[in-house]
Symmetry: C2
């Protein structure tokens, strides 16, 4: 199943045209509205007017994690606080305040709908949301579940409440961080209960990195199918990449993010597919806090080999993935 067939099976030419248009708009918006990017572009003598083809993005400066840590969310913010629809705090890798316009939230919900559908969640699913309310990606998940027609079961950080809901609601899927899910499994065990006796058969694991070393352990321990969900503090969302039923690498939501692979420790862009390098991402629709050429620190390669699922979005593969 696909949540948005038209976009998820878009052809390469149409996608490039869409990316060019959105990237152009993003560069102009960031330059004119974010003091952080105005300074940055001026220092590098970059002008969004010079952006004439997709590869022109390489003329623009990288954004580094340590730069973001030195400025406040207000320096990145492109609009007054009154235009902001949500403010949330992401904890990992370091506490990061993210702000969203209503369109940013809509984009996150659309991306999350695709992610959930690709993981096989349907109208018939009953999905537990495990986490703190401040993990605002779970709000997007809840709205995406509404859109899909699945039932959402907001679980608690309190174990007793969660157990009552697991027993009453026949939860078949859990979305939450690997840490929280493991803690739940252990707490159940301590109460003499086995997670495998619950009707749970799928886990969507929120990870701060693209690798999920706990995945195999979780699959074995819970008897479920585990999908990885990259949960990004800098981008403030959980649906940037997604696994399909093929379980080989993760599709990039290319209408929302423009990916590049850059040589480790260098600035050279690697244009060939299937070469390892650092993943660099640019937002294509973010309004409140656009990010230009953000160096994620993630070691990946990109493959454009056709996927068995029929989606045309290219995939990123990590060294530890099953590829």
């Amino acid at each position: 199943m696909l949540a948005n067939r038209e976009m998820e099976q878009i052809n390469s030419e149409a996608l490039k045209a869409l990316q060019f248009e959105r990237l152009h708009k993003t560069l102009e918006w960031a330059y004119s509205k974010s003091s952080f990017y105005r300074n940055k572009f001026d220092e590098s003598e970059c002008d969004p007017k010079q952006f004439e083809s997709l590869t022109d993005i390489e003329k623009f400066p990288f954004t580094l994690s340590k730069e973001l840590q030195q400025v406040s969310a207000m320096d990145l913010l492109t609009l007054p606080l009154s235009g902001v629809a949500r403010i949330s705090l992401w904890e990992h890798p370091q506490p990061t305040v993210h702000m969203y316009t209503i369109n940013d939230i809509a984009a996150n919900v659309e991306m999350t709908s695709r992610v959930l559908t690709a993981a096989g969640i349907s109208r018939a699913s009953i999905v537990g949301l495990l986490g703190d309310m401040a993990d605002s990606g779970l709000f997007d998940a809840q709205q995406a579940l509404e859109a899909i027609g699945a039932a959402a079961v907001p679980l608690s950080t309190d174990y007793e409440r969660t157990l009552k809901l697991l027993e009453a609601a026949h939860v078949d899927t859990i979305i939450g961080s690997a840490r929280r899910i493991l803690r739940l499994v252990i707490q159940l065990q301590a109460s003499g209960l086995e997670i495998s006796n619950f009707p749970l058969h799928k886990i969507l694991c929120l990870n701060e990195t693209l690798q999920n070393p706990l995945k195999m352990h979780l699959e074995k321990r819970t008897g479920t199918e585990v999908y990885d969900l990259f949960s990004s503090a800098e981008f403030g969302c959980i649906g940037m990449f997604f696994q399909c039923e093929g379980h080989v690498g993760q599709h990039i939501q290319q209408d929302y993010f423009y990916p590049e692979i850059v040589a480790f420790g260098g600035n050279e862009v690697i244009h060939e597919f299937n070469c390892m390098g650092e993943l660099v991402l640019t937002t294509l629709t973010a309004e409140a806090m656009p990010l230009i050429r953000y160096r994620t620190g993630q070691a990946v390669m990109i493959t454009d080999e056709p996927c068995t699922c029929g989606r045309t979005f290219i995939r990123i593969i990590t060294p530890m993935s099953s590829f």
Copy 2:
């Protein structure tokens, strides 16, 4: 400001017609789809076909709190689990599982939008949501804030995270239970911080009863305006009644609930206004778990005196309220 002028200023005749139509539908729905109500109506020899005027509701049996505790949510549920859009656990007064269709959620969001607007929340507001994600009323609040255009700041049950957000986001309103808000005030104090130094100027307090004895203390301690929000486990929502800027009693959302006042300990319905009795409520739109003539145990009187705010919904007044 009114969120839904047409409904909040509806005239008495149009309201009665709407209530009759919805009540009729609800009785038929509950009788045909909920095993709990089919048994109950059969035992009392009640048939929804006999419902010919609003006061005919008095022929139907009461639903008691202890009856609900003896049955499972499944006995009340009117549809298969696959038609349910949300399942949540309400903790007070006792753990109660509530299920919602997508229409039930939409009704809760609409009610909550009216409640927030009546409390003066606008596009310019920045509203902290304090609580556990399992308090699913906060999901409704988040969606209502989106509808209004205010910014939502999901706060955490973790104090450190909440403090970071309070400092970064300029939160001017907090929605949460009195207990959690008081705990936050005390935690701030323990860190050498004073709540009155934050830009907070409004609190919407979720209460399990209609009286909020902590209200004056909270107002004085925080220097804010405090609004009461009745948070009901049995009805699974936070927007059944609301205070307007008049702060005298609470308007009843009469298009969603049909109120009666019944003599304490007896079955006699009190038709006169301004007489104390027990509040009895019937849902008018609830699909997943309708409740017929539920005895709330709340001591109130109803007034139909015009309110300074211009809303026509009648108000309930509690013995301890400022009336």
